[in-house]
Symmetry: C2
Subunit: 224 residues, 2 copies
């Protein structure tokens, strides 16, 4: 089988939503790859060599050619292995998929993170509102079962943080932001997405992440 | 001629490097379009309607379908009008073009801007070093006349701020960062890029921008 003759390696971190994005994309395509788990705060020299600019995972290495930045990697995967497309074929729909993916990175993840892990009341409030506004845009944008239609696509994969990570962070920090009352469509989407067979098998263990964020939050509160 | 039957409109600002990116892309393709100049700080309701998320220009409207975010727009243009490709055809080279374009947005423009328009000495110093480091990565990356090879491509267009805007900002603020001594290849590139016939005819007037940034810098210094 042709795919087996190629060397595909992914350097990642089990708890990283960015690594998980790439794993979901590779699994959707049925691409076989070797996974190399890195250490938080102590990345291997190999990763630093492959990604000297950001010194971060994920890094995909395909036949010795390294690629960094999760959204760049996913587009590469979609263009290299054509089966089960991740981006739509129509240029306008592709543009929308890219637009909303960038939006999730810029306008959802950054404030959502701050809302959870900022203790300053005023900043927290501001980030909370920004996150709500951003989630509302996604709520309005969601027309089908998935952002990609009947199947998951680029926006869905990019939003894995919202579906899986944020509810855990919310539980740890006691936030009431992403609820089925406030965002019924987005909430249903998150359930469908997390239960999608390929997504499900690639998500990290919930208990592990919960313990990790709990420790982090407690140390933050203690340091106040 | 088929191109004339389509309606292509660009909402932009003459002094915006992001609008200029899109204009260069459209001109490279030979796409005819109607340009609508917006007002700084007072965008039209039409732009707000087309880009409710960011409320910013540039916005491209093609047969009534709006697209925002300059890099998303450029990929759309490249996929819609195939002549004079802006991205390479090879998936790996495409990934690199996307990677470095994102790098310019994240790691060059933000610190370069801060270096110029932050008065706090320490922050200014930090941004100066970040900008130098980022420019050094580009210096090392530049192998041919242009980042795109013999012709300008996505990275070149994205970097219009470095070629044209930053030298003006530098002149106004007295920075000595982007010089031919420190970055000989990148400096030569900036000359070739600014003198490329299509780029040249789409850059704003140098004197106008110089006066604009001078006023801005003086008001910043006065407010200290």
């Amino acid at each position: 089988m042709a795919l087996n003759q190629e060397e595909v390696k992914l350097f990642g971190l089990v708890g990283s939503p960015f690594s998980t994005r790439v794993e979901i994309a590779l699994k959707l395509k049925g691409v076989e790859y070797r996974y190399e788990e890195e250490k938080v705060g102590n990345l291997s020299d190999t990763v630093i060599k492959y990604n000297p600019v950001y010194k971060k995972v994920p890094v995909l290495v395909h036949n010795d050619k390294p690629i960094a930045e999760s959204l760049v990697i996913i587009e590469y995967i979609d263009e290299t292995w054509k089966q089960n497309p991740i981006l739509p074929s129509d240029p306008y729909k592709r543009a929308l998929a890219r637009f909303w993916s960038k939006f999730i990175d810029d306008k959802c993840m950054i404030p959502a993170w701050k809302t959870a892990f900022t203790l300053d009341e005023k900043e927290r409030e501001k980030s909370f509102e920004e996150t709500e506004d951003a989630f509302q845009f996604l709520e309005n944008e969601l027309k089908d079962k998935f952002f990609g239609g009947d199947d998951i696509g680029l926006i869905d994969i990019t939003a894995v943080f919202i579906a899986f990570w944020f509810p855990i962070v919310q539980e740890v920090t006691g936030l009431k932001l992403f609820t089925s009352e406030k965002f019924p469509k987005l909430y249903n989407w998150s359930q469908d997405f997390n239960n999608h067979p390929i997504v499900k098998e690639n998500l990290p263990r919930r208990e592990g992440l919960l313990a990790f964020f709990k420790a982090r939050y407690e140390s933050l509160v203690a340091s106040k």
